[in-house]
């Protein structure tokens, strides 16, 4: 019994999928930007020698790394309104969830990157009179970030796939659109195949760009690989 593939009903709904893709990129981009910034903040706090700073940061990181993102999303979207009366649109709830969730992963990437820089770099910076924050900003972070690019890319891809969960709270992302299209066309196989392909293309292109950036950094002689 051979399945008769027919993609035409799916392609007829291309605008719906395009809109879904746009929304997916929107939520991913938002969570990425806030996730990276927040992640750096969490990493710096966690690395602090002061326990009243490092412990809470460590707590947030561990909680968000060890609980399922779907549970986190439901918590922000359904529990917060009931508990403290904070109501959020699906987009905001998703942005908040995925920002903090990815931040906790980015924080660990940042921390590993920062700690991978040799002690001698701190020595060199301190010996010319730099403060800790100056050394971090000017000497340590620029080198750490370069080493972090592959891990960083990995997290960004993971994040884009995680955002599909936002369909469960009725935000019209790509997966939500796919669901709609498949119900409309009775062609779930074709629909989800197309959607998988879209994810593949977007993520593949993004990782190619990251590879180019990496190559460029290596070629300019700024590579930290000795």
């Amino acid at each position: 019994m051979a399945y008769q593939w027919d993609f035409s009903p799916v392609l007829a709904n291309a605008p719906l999928l395009a809109e879904g893709l746009l929304n997916t990129l929107k939520i991913t981009g938002t969570a990425l930007v806030f996730g990276v910034v927040l992640g750096l903040g969490l990493a710096l706090l966690r690395l602090s020698p002061r326990r009243f700073l490092s412990w809470p940061a460590g707590f947030v990181i561990e909680v968000f790394r060890t609980t399922p993102p779907l549970v986190q999303l439901f918590w922000f979207f359904f529990a917060l309104p009931i508990l403290v009366g904070i109501e959020m649109t699906p987009f905001v709830a998703g942005a908040v969830t995925f920002s903090i969730q990815s931040a906790s992963f980015f924080a660990e990437v940042f921390r590993a990157g920062i700690q991978s820089i040799e002690r001698g770099q701190w020595d060199g910076a301190r010996a010319i009179g730099m403060r800790h924050d100056q050394a971090m900003r000017r000497i340590i972070l620029p080198q750490a970030v370069k080493r972090m690019i592959p891990a960083f890319m990995e997290r960004a891809i993971e994040l884009m796939k995680t955002t599909t969960l936002i369909a469960t709270i009725s935000y019209a992302d790509l997966l939500f659109a796919a669901n709609e299209v498949s119900q409309k066309t009775f062609r779930p196989l074709e629909t989800y195949t197309v959607v998988a392909l879209i994810y593949f293309v977007v993520i593949f292109l993004a990782s190619q760009v990251a590879r180019l950036v990496e190559l460029r950094l290596a070629r300019s002689g700024e590579s930290t690989v000795h």
Binding site: D123, A127, I128, I139
Partner: protein, 255 residues
């Protein structure tokens, strides 16, 4: 005139006493070579002088001013801002150079001027070029450390330290990480600085160089000053048995 006065300096790492009460007075223009077997505490002593390591006990006075204030323990309490001032006045050159790999040679030299001193870019650049020229690397200004030889890296590191106008320079085994054929160019730069009358403390294994450049030799053993004196006294006529044994073990020792 005394620039640096160290009194009863101690330092321990875990259960090990690395420095056991060092007394040392450095006069302006003096050049002191610190010798000793590995583990004798010579690098730790140097690193305490610009507070890369916090001294465990004792005091350090710069220009007659005792640094830090007394705490409840033997360890004095130092404000970070105070130490940052000290580190600008006491420059340091490391065995492993510790250049910033993401910056060019001139970027490395400018960094302290720009970030720490807040100097404007054109001024900082001019100053950095002057320092690079002094160490003979004017033409390598735009080269990244990865493309410099070990000797060139160390000369950039020296230029980076000099750019901060330090009153005193600390050299922590500046040639130990270099291939033998590159040692000479670095020593030549240090010698030129010596001839300018700069105050410097130098931890080294180059005994011949120490003999020529130093005004005083300190031999460290077990975290204490075992013997000190002029190069002739310590290197040619050592009084103590351990000094003699140390010198004998350095086969390249020659005048």
């Amino acid at each position: 005139m005394t620039i640096l006065k160290v009194t009863g300096l101690t330092k321990r790492f875990g259960a090990t006493d690395v420095l056991r009460g060092i007394d040392l007075e450095v006069a302006r223009g003096e050049r002191i070579a610190i010798l000793g077997a590995s583990g004798s505490g010579k690098s730790t002593l140097l690193r305490c002088l610009n507070f890369m390591e916090r001294p465990g006990g004792g005091t350090i006075a710069l220009d007659g001013e005792v640094l830090g204030r007394e705490g409840r323990t033997a360890e004095r309490i130092y404000r970070e801002s105070e130490l940052i001032q000290v580190r600008q006045r006491v420059g340091m050159v490391f065995q492993q150079f510790n250049l910033f790999p993401h910056m060019t040679a001139i970027g490395n030299v400018m960094e302290g001027l720009r970030t720490v001193r807040g100097m404007a870019k054109p001024e900082a650049e001019a100053r950095a070029r002057k320092e690079l020229a002094r160490v003979g690397l004017a033409e390598k200004a735009d080269t990244y450390p990865a493309h410099l030889s070990g000797g060139q890296k160390q000369r950039v590191a020296i230029a980076r330290a000099l750019a901060m106008d330090p009153e005193m320079l600390l050299f922590d085994e500046p040639t130990s990480a270099l291939d033998p054929e590159l040692v000479g160019e670095v020593l030549a730069v240090i010698l030129a600085l010596a001839e300018e009358g700069r105050t410097m403390l130098l931890v080294t294994h180059e005994l011949g160089f120490a003999y020529h450049v130093a005004t005083r030799i300190i031999f460290l053993a077990d975290g204490a000053i075992h013997e000190q004196g002029t190069p002739d006294e310590v290197l040619k006529n050592p009084k103590k048995e351990r000094t003699r044994a140390f010198l004998a073990s350095h086969k390249q020792f020659s005048f």
